[in-house]
Amino acid sequence: MTTPLFEIDALQVAVEDKQIVNGLSLTLQPGEVHAIMGPNGSGKSTLANSLMGHPRYTINGGDIRLEGESVVELAPDERARLGLFLAFQYPTDIPGVSMINFLRRAMSARRGEEIPVREFRQVLNEVLGRLQMDEQFVRRYVNDGFSGGEKKRAEILQLGLLEPRVAVMDETDSGLDIDALRIVSEGINAFHSDHNAILLITHYQRILRYVQPDHVHVLIDGRIVESGDAGLAERLERDGYEPFMARTKEEVMAS
């Protein structure tokens, strides 16, 4: 059997002594799209941030492996350079730093060498066009004064430019109107190939109409309580998270 592209192995994550993720396991093969769906407070953002190595989150059990290599001891920039990507739910603004400068630095970091200006321009214009974004957009400061939709689009722009192996999308659909959702989804689909994998973390099912998942997982209290195909998402849309939450309560009581 070949090495999976991305493995989350019995992962445990705490924030300030509070255990949030409780032994979560998940395996992504190249070409797959996985969706993790969960209600508020189920540990979605903690999972997303800890995968990328946010210093506020402590991994106190389990492992994260990218192409068979553990990354839990690596700093966020090292993980990024290996091909891990996080699309932020709330991208931070960095006043005074232009998008274009930032994007070029990030692309050069990902490649491990300076990207030539001409090539950068070419790739940038291509991805901008795909996302129906104006060239002037990259003259602005990073996320500074961006609308909610612009921020999400900027994340997808980075996804398209950096071409990671594994993309973790943290509630990329939140705060988007229907048109923006469609464009963002198209951006994700254009990026997706047989060589990479996507982990969509979301509360709602609506983005899954545009980005078809191969596997859907339900996250409750920091663990996956059910996995299935795209049909599971439809069930969630219809019945809500309540039945799953009731079940975890019973399990906890029984144990």
């Binding site: 700093a75 990024a80 990507f85 630095r105 950096l162």
Partner: protein, 471 residues
């Protein structure tokens, strides 16, 4: 003789690249200490008119009578008796670069100064080495239009009436202890006069260099922009790294006549053993615009608050200031704007960085006199700390004696944010690279107001300082 050497730094500011000095016997070097005799000797050497000698001696009395300021930075270690008040390396102020002594020329070559002039980036260049100006040159077409750009000593010899008319009119000898000291022992500095309606299209630059150990540099700069004229003056400064401290105490006076536009840019990069205690002030008359762009990166302690006095309606004053304090440094910098007439406007933008245990202080005064109605002012000061053991303080003072004014004020103190760092690192940038990017963004509003070459230089100096702080 040219044997530049580099000594071990007292307080290393990353790789301070201008820490070398020339081992050369000065032509004239007064013994250490300050007295009437020293002041008289300086005046004798310069063969000055009697009014200037009297002014110097009067200023010395002011200096002796005044206590040391007890606010601002730590001044207790300055020993006024352990300073050479006058050191002259050469006996001439040349206007042809080839005539400047080789060892001085080498120093400025190393600093990249004449290069900019050769490339036509500057309208004129001045260079001061220790106490005296060694070189001044101005583009011919400007000279023909009557623009004067020369050493202040030379101006006093060649245009005594013009100097006398304005000297100490903006900053009186008794303004403060260090202005008094400068007035008593001043030497060198630039004198600029721009005739009515003349525009000096590219900057005039002066470069100040302290070479001798234990010396004080007290240059005196006077700029007069006549009606409707326009000029941009840029000064840069460096010094060698010695084991003992040096004192730099300049006075800069600027008169902006009606409709004129003056911009004064400083990139201060003294070594970390220089006390930099400077008084800078401009008066702006009807519809004149005065802008100070003040970058403080070097020195042990800087106390400097460029001021604009808005004297007549329509005058506009602006101070853009960047300070960066690293290990062993205290940058006590800011701005002072006085609205003394109705319908005057001002903007203060200050950005300060502290890192590696350094301390940055913003100290500002905004004063609006009773009757100066219709004034508008906007003050913004932001401080950014790179680590836990650095320090940042803000002292914005406002004295507003008039009700019909529009004053905006905003101040922020922040640390390089974990979320910002995480965001950039999640895109593959190392922590050091991410920090630099955040800092560059922080100072960007001021950097972008600089001419390109200076913007590049300022960014480079800040990065150099950060290399030492964040490794």
């Amino acid at each position: 003789m040219t044997t530049p050497t580099t000594e071990a730094p007292v307080t290393p500011r990353s790789e301070y690249e201008y820490g070398f000095h020339d081992d050369v016997e000065a032509l004239v070097k007064l013994p250490k200490g300050l007295s009437r005799e020293v002041v008289n000797t300086i005046s004798d050497i310069k063969e000055e008119p009697e009014w200037m000698r009297k002014l110097r001696l009067k200023a010395l009395d002011h200096f002796n009578a005044r206590p040391m300021p007890e606010w601002g930075g730590e001044l207790g270690d300055i020993d006024f008796n352990d300073i050479h008040y006058y050191v002259r390396a050469t006996d001439r102020d040349e206007s042809d670069w080839d005539d400047v002594p080789d060892y001085i020329k080498d120093t400025y070559d190393k600093l990249g100064i004449p290069e900019a002039e050769k490339q036509g980036l500057l309208a004129g260049v001045g260079a001061q080495y220790d106490s005296e100006v060694v070189y001044h040159n101005i583009r011919e077409d400007l000279e023909e239009k009557g623009v004067l750009f020369l050493g202040t000593d030379q101006a006093l010899r060649e245009y005594p009436d013009l100097v006398q008319e304005y000297f100490t009119t903006v900053i009186p000898p008794n303004d403060n202890k260090f202005a008094a000291l400068n007035t008593a022992v001043w030497s060198g500095g630039s004198f600029i006069y721009v005739p009515p309606g003349v525009t000096v299209d590219i900057p005039l630059q002066a470069y100040f260099r302290i070479n001798s150990e234990d010396m004080g540099q007290f240059e005196r700069t006077l700029i007069i922009a006549d009606e409707g004229s326009q000029v941009h003056y840029v000064e840069g400064c460096t010094a060698p790294i010695y084991s003992s401290d040096s004192l730099h105490s300049a006075v800069v006076e600027i008169v902006c006549k009606p409709g004129s536009n003056v911009r004064y840019t400083t990139i201060q990069n003294w070594s970390n053993n220089v006390y930099n205690l400077v008084t800078k002030r401009a008066t702006a008359y009807q519809d004149a615009v005065m802008t100070w762009v003040d970058g403080n990166l070097g020195s042990k302690l800087t106390m400097k608050y460029p001021a604009v006095y808005l004297m007549e309606p329509g005058a506009h004053g602006e101070v853009l200031s960047i300070a960066s304090a690293g290990q062993g440094q205290h940058q006590d910098a800011g701005a002072k704007i006085v609205h003394a007439a109705p319908n005057t406007t001002s903007v203060i933008t200050s950005k300060s960085l502290s890192m590696d245990g350094g301390r940055s202080t913003y100290r500002g005064l905004l004063k609006v006199y009773d009757g100066a109605d219709g004034c508008r002012s906007n003050v913004r000061c932001d401080a950014l700390m790179l680590d836990e053991h650095s320090r940042s303080d803000t002292y914005p003072v406002m004295e507003i004696d008039e009700k019909r004014v529009d004053i905006g004020h905003e101040a922020t103190v922040s640390k390089v944010g974990d979320e910002q760092l995480f965001y950039l690192m999640a895109r593959g940038l190392s922590e050091a690279e991410a920090t630099k990017m955040i800092v560059n963004g922080f100072v960007e509003p001021i950097i972008k107001s600089l001419p390109l070459e200076y913007a590049v230089e300022m960014n480079r100096l800040i990065e150099l300082q950060m290399d030492g702080a964040i490794g």
